[in-house]
């Protein structure tokens, strides 16, 4: 069973038993927040950097509202916000479109990063930028977040601290990075 998280949607859970996935992240950003001590997980599909209003109908859609919103939802499930860690994927530059102010992908990444920084949430891994689409999938069985791209090897985002039951076993590339690429 795979739960697909569409544009502007989110999911929050504790001891999540099903896979969560965001298929085809272009300029959008897939954000994962994990809290290992209480095993609370949140995932959101961010579309734009800035919300048009302070209290939007879909807070997960915007880089500047998604983080406080998800943290609140995670707290309701018992998460300790000081232990929350973030992983990011997406924010690619797909089309060159004139008239659209700047590069949505890059601005999404920047908006989410600065919001995370404001809330004291470290980014433990990210696979962002470039010009390719990505799929972000969280596998419940191995508790690993994996980024896949068409024609490129998979990348694992989940830091060791968040993993349960050992490492990824089928020989794919493993990356744990605290540096933006």
């Amino acid at each position: 069973m795979i739960r697909s998280i569409g544009l502007g949607e989110y999911a929050v859970g504790r001891d999540v038993q099903e896979d969560w996935a965001i298929y085809g992240l272009g300029s959008c950003v897939g954000l994962i927040l994990c809290e290992p001590t209480t095993r609370v997980l949140a995932m959101a599909h961010v579309v734009l950097p800035v919300s048009p209003s302070p209290d939007p109908e879909q807070p997960a859609r915007y880089g500047d509202t998604v983080v406080p919103f998800l943290l609140e939802e995670m707290k309701k499930l018992g998460a300790v916000t000081e232990h929350v860690m973030a992983q990011l994927a997406g924010g690619a530059r797909m089309f060159e479109i004139s008239g659209v102010a700047g590069d949505i992908g890059r601005r999404n990444v920047e908006s989410v990063r600065s919001s995370l920084a404001r809330h004291g949430v470290p980014v433990t891994a990210e696979e962002v930028g470039g010009a390719s689409g990505r799929t972000l999938r969280w596998h419940a069985k191995t508790r690993l977040a994996v980024v896949s791209r068409f024609g490129a090897p998979d990348v694992i985002l989940t830091p060791d601290r968040c993993r349960v039951g050992g490492s990824w076993t089928d020989g794919r590339v493993v990356k744990n990075s605290t540096e933006p690429r």
Binding site: G8, Y23, S27, C28, V47, L48, F95, F150
Partner: protein, 173 residues
């Protein structure tokens, strides 16, 4: 001569619109417009300049592209840059045929930009386009899906016309 054989077909016979369907989608529905958002496709993308702003996309599943382009390119089909150029040109010809029809019917002007050709997941492309509409405050996106024929044979590539809602309502006046 091989190049001579390659010249027949797609670039010589006129296109006709076989099917045309308009639907309204929310931005969140765009990534799955052709089914699976993770499906890899070859897509040629155009912005529309002139009086009917919006976008055009020619899309086909990536594993059909070589067969589609082989009659045009012969052995050159394995050169990705040349294949992308040919695919972009097919989209230009088909997309312009569509825009010519609209422009002449509504007595206006609409032209595509040069092509941007992608080989990637359809969801990543459509999701990025959806973001543009969300940024414009548009929560309903008109999508016109057109199937073309050439001498009764359907083109396996699909043309999507995604105008700004304002363009469509202006035309209808």
């Amino acid at each position: 001569m091989q190049a001579g054989e390659a010249l027949s077909g797609l670039f010589e016979r006129k296109f006709k619109i076989a099917e045309i369907a308009l639907s309204h989608r929310t931005p969140a529905e765009l990534p799955e417009i052709l089914g699976d958002a993770a499906e890899p496709v070859c897509a040629s993308f155009y912005q529309i300049r002139g009086e009917i702003p919006g976008f055009l996309l020619l899309i086909m599943p990536i594993d059909e592209v070589n067969a589609f382009l082989k009659p045009l390119l012969g052995d050159h089909v394995t050169e990705e840059a040349m294949a992308d150029s040919a695919f972009g040109e097919v989209g230009n010809v088909v997309g312009s045929a569509f825009l010519n029809y609209l422009a002449d019917y509504y007595r206006t002007y609409a032209a595509p930009t040069p092509p941007q050709v992608f080989r990637d997941m359809v969801g990543a492309l459509m999701g990025s386009l959806a973001a543009v509409f969300v940024a414009e405050g548009q929560e309903q996106v008109p999508v016109v899906r057109t199937v073309f024929t050439q001498e009764s044979e359907k083109l396996s590539a699909l043309l999507l016309w995604i105008p700004y809602a304002l363009s469509l309502s202006e035309l209808r006046k």
